[in-house]
């Protein structure tokens, strides 16, 4: 086929030379392996120092908020997976919790315990992934392979639970769809027993590693004021000296019943963030041990319910649907027309592995949300690069993007 002439203006290898001063404008991305997704940075350089940074996003924009406005509530659940696809159950959970708060549902205890297990497994998966990719960006290939190996165990556990490894859709509005499989607890315990040694292995490789320290210490310092002003949350904020963890401060599910610490640091640099991720993995393991006990308690007490009983909003269990006429009718209406939450609005924030994941839902009593706003933490963690990068050198860009832990499914939505 004959080539069609195009109108794109040619450019010289990402670099423009049309200025008189020494300033060089470097285009970083949007397809850069260490940008962790489709991030484009326009960096103004004086020699090798960045004087101005302009992050450009939107390369993964799929219009999720628009999609939500044209879907029934349950239909939107698998779409939330595609936000933070490293820890998709935490997105499912945030949405489920927001809708439950809107309609005032109380979830059965056993479902809450399973949800907590899923959330913490997702946190571990996300943190391991963070460690692997960041270490790889800095050049520590061994850590990458180690951390991916451990993450694989967790993915297998999750796969056994819901059949998917990355996009779980493992949580429903009103509870969870399934009980955990028979091997779940044994597998999880196996993993957790090995985890402290694994974390120690990573730390042995990194904590005193000269290259790692040079790339991390005193690099990417985010003062507390700046972190608060830019809306930073999660590990980004905790590394800047604010011990704010929504699980602790505004507990949801059964987080008020488990014991865990909130690691924080006032060093504010990349290394502080790295330390916080490592400590949080330990805390997650602690929570998971406790949820296993809680789950066993539920089994002993004979609490078998997994979904809330609310015929107007949640389908009855499968057995009822197959045997009882009214349940079948109700299920039919809920699947074809969708639930109709009451008129009102709600903003619910949960602590996802990246930070505060918020869902604002405005319902006008219809089967579709009138407005749904996704508050994804990575959006602001990308925005802060505008103020954070100036004053740093080009190689620091990579380590700073690494420790901000941004995921572009979430930034662009």
């Amino acid at each position: 086929m004959a080539q069609i002439k195009n109108r794109l203006t040619p450019f010289f290898e990402n670099i423009t030379f049309d200025r008189d001063d020494n300033e060089l404008i470097l285009n970083f991305g949007p397809q850069h392996p260490s940008a962790h997704g489709q991030l484009r940075l326009m960096l103004h350089l004086q020699q090798e120092m960045i004087v101005k940074a302009h992050p450009d996003i939107g390369y993964l924009h799929r219009g999720m908020e628009k999609m939500a406005e044209n879907m029934i509530y349950n239909e939107f659940m698998p779409t939330t997976d595609r936000m933070d696809y490293i820890a998709s159950s935490s997105n499912n959970y945030g949405f489920a919790l927001a809708v439950e708060k809107l309609i005032g549902l109380e979830v059965p205890r056993r479902a809450k315990v399973i949800r907590m297990m899923l959330l913490e497994i997702n946190r571990l998966m996300s943190h391991l992934f963070w460690l692997a990719t960041t270490a790889l960006d800095i050049g520590a290939m061994t850590v990458f392979l180690f951390a991916f190996r451990e993450r694989e165990y967790l993915m297998d556990i999750i796969e056994g639970y819901c059949g998917a490894r990355l996009t779980h859709a493992a949580i429903r509005i009103g509870g969870v769809p399934l009980d955990i499989q028979d091997t779940f607890i044994a597998q999880l315990k196996d993993f957790l027993d090995k985890l402290p040694q694994n974390i120690k292995d990573y730390e042995d490789l990194l904590d005193t590693n000269r290259i790692w320290l040079m790339r991390m210490e005193e690099v990417g310092v985010i003062p507390t004021d700046m972190a608060l002003s830019w809306g930073c949350t999660g590990p980004m904020l905790r590394a800047s000296g604010v011990a704010w963890d929504i699980r602790k401060e505004e507990p949801y599910e059964l987080y008020d019943e488990v014991e865990f610490n909130v690691p924080y640091s006032d060093k504010c640099d990349n290394f502080a963030r790295y330390r916080i991720y490592m400590e949080e993995m330990r805390e997650s393991a602690k929570i998971l041990y406790q949820t296993i006990d809680m789950y066993n308690e539920c089994v002993e007490k004979g609490e078998t319910e997994l979904m809330a009983h609310a015929p107007k909003y949640v389908s009855a269990p499968k057995l009822d649907i197959m045997t009882q006429n009214y349940s079948l009718m109700q299920h039919f209406v809920l699947v074809t027309q969708g639930m109709r939450p009451p008129v009102g609005e709600v903003y619910v924030a949960t602590e996802s592995p990246k930070g505060e994941l918020g869902y604002y839902i405005n319902s006008q009593g219809g089967p579709y949300p009138y407005r749904l706003k996704l508050r994804a933490p990575s959006f602001w963690h990308t925005g802060i690069l505008t103020d954070l990068l100036p004053g740093h050198y080009i190689p620091d860009v990579v380590s700073i993007i690494g420790t901000t832990n941004i995921v572009f499914g979430e930034v662009d939505r």
């Binding site: 044209n70 609005e345 709600v346």
Partner: protein, 268 residues
């Protein structure tokens, strides 16, 4: 007769609603039921006009006048310890009364409380930027402009953020079409090749799962592939992949059964 479709709201509609259905309300409670919220509201009321305030799902909602927003957020940040602006966006009420509702989601870490500040603006009216108070509003306001076309006065860089700079229309408006948006479907072709190439290239298929069910010719023509848009005559030449030995593709070598190891055990 064609069914009437309202032009001011082209979003998906419930296909059936019981004519006697009355939607229930999410319960609201008085602000006085919560001490912290009550004192915060007093502090705001002392300086600014508050139109309405209530507590809904554990958070206080305060309606104010549009021109007070900078002052209210400054007061909340400096005196009431609401140190973070978590979220800021708009709701499209153009079909109802030609207004937008803007909300600011505030968080106080010290008090562990969240307040939502809201106000209405007319269509075409701009809001006051709060970027000087909270840097997070920089990107939020850009996103609001991108999605709704609401401009923020005093913003340092009021440009689109998620959509391309030269995009037409604001996607989260209820008037924005879900299908059949001509500009959107030809965006890349027009930009890269020009309008005159439209016929030659054809519209972009945005639905990646789409299969043309009537196209039984271009499907699975292994070895006889033809470029899109060409007529199929049935006399196409076979595209032979040549091997490295024949000065073809590097590293694609012919199989030598004697030197190669053949694995018989599929389980290996």
């Amino acid at each position: 007769m064609r069914a009437y479709i309202p032009k001011d709201d082209v979003q998906a509609k419930a296909y059936y609603t019981d004519r006697y259905y009355v939607a229930p309300q999410v319960p609201k409670s008085e602000v006085e039921t919560d001490e912290v919220f009550a004192s915060d509201l007093e502090a705001i009321k002392a300086k600014f006009e508050v139109k309405e305030a209530f507590i809904q799902v554990e958070q206080m909602v305060v309606y104010i006048n549009a021109h007070d927003i900078y002052g209210v957020l400054e007061l909340m940040r400096d005196e009431l310890e609401y140190t973070q602006l978590s979220e800021l966006s708009a709701i499209d009420w153009l079909a109802k009364d030609n207004t937008f509702e803007i909300f600011y989601q505030m968080l106080s870490m010290k008090k562990r409380k969240r307040i939502r500040i809201k106000y209405f603006i007319q269509n075409g009216q701009a809001v006051d930027s709060v970027e000087k108070l909270f840097r997070s509003a920089d990107w939020s306001e850009r996103e609001m402009y991108d999605m709704f076309g609401i401009e923020a006065n005093g913003h340092p860089f009021m440009k689109r953020i998620l959509m391309p700079y030269d995009w037409q229309g604001h996607p989260l408006l209820k008037t924005y079409p879900l299908q059949g948006d001509e500009f959107a479907s030809w965006y890349e072709v027009d930009k890269i090749y020009g309008k005159e190439a439209r016929e030659e290239i054809g519209p972009e298929i945005r639905d990646t799962a789409r299969v043309d069910r009537y196209d039984s010719q271009r499907f699975a023509r292994l070895g006889f592939e033809v470029p899109k848009g060409t007529e199929i005559t049935g006399e196409e030449e076979r595209n032979v992949d040549s091997y490295q030995e024949e000065e073809g593709v590097f590293l694609i070598k012919k199989l030598n059964k004697e030197t190669s190891k053949i694995i018989d055990d599929p389980q290996r």
